[in-house]
Amino acid sequence: MGKRPEKINPINPSLPPIDRLIHEPARLTILANLYVVKEVDFIFLKNQTEMTWGNLSSHLSKLEEAGYVSVKKELAGKKTKTRIRLTEDGREAFREYRQKMDDFLKGLPE
């Protein structure tokens, strides 16, 4: 399990601390897509996120390092099947992020 990134808002301490690992748009897209399903493979995730293979790979590695995403490889005959899912930590971190962003945006004047 990776170390959860530090959550401090360096710009303004009164703003809610946001998980910067999740805040990055590409990773947020990956996490949101994983949040609504149980398990996917690379191809499905690539199609849903519309990212390039390289981008997807690099962001997934970061999320896996943080322990937000689990990438499991299973042998199915001669082929390797890869299954990607959100870990409990990842699910919780995403929920927390949503809540904070929601609270923050709701507090803004019209």
Partner: protein, 218 residues
Amino acid sequence: MSEKIDLEQLEKKSWRSTFQDGLWDIYLGLIFMGFGIYTIGPLFGSFSAVNAIIIIAIWDFSAFFFFFIGKKKITQPRIGFVKFGKKRKRKKIKLSIFLMFMVGVNVIFLFLPLSGFELNLNPLIFLLIVGLGFFTLPLCVVAYFLEFDRLYLMAIMGGLGLFVSELIRPVVGNPLHMLLTYCPIGGIIVVWGGIVLVRFIKKYPLPKSEQIQEVKDG
């Protein structure tokens, strides 16, 4: 709240992506065609119930085989694998309960004439009720649970088919009326399924294996 709606949309988008290959349309279109195909028996000899059952069984099995192979060889390599969460599981259970209920209702209505119960209805009205009640309605419920919009149209076409077949029976005779009704209905659905399939193949080309390997290796 808007985020909740967006996540729901995202889940729906993922779910609906599993129906965009046109294979369900082709499969159901072939099944509809099967309702008419069994009447080709007399063209090759005598018509009997056994002949009809054999023809329908071979036809439906071939349709299912095409569907199964298509999902495995065309769809999955292109859109990949996805397993949905609890929401979809609950919907599947509700749908299964409904389908079991419909099987029960069908069995009751099948044996109703044996109990001496008779419906003195005009055959056209009777087939309209049967078509809409036992065909269109259940398929619409399936479409609702699966969120598969094209299925509503297929349900209406399939349900009205019985009525149309009865309508043309005096002109073309029995059992050709079924062939001339359900083959065009099924054929239209197969063609539109084919168009959806071609669009799907164009939209989702096969990924190169080295690209996938690159991602797997990180």
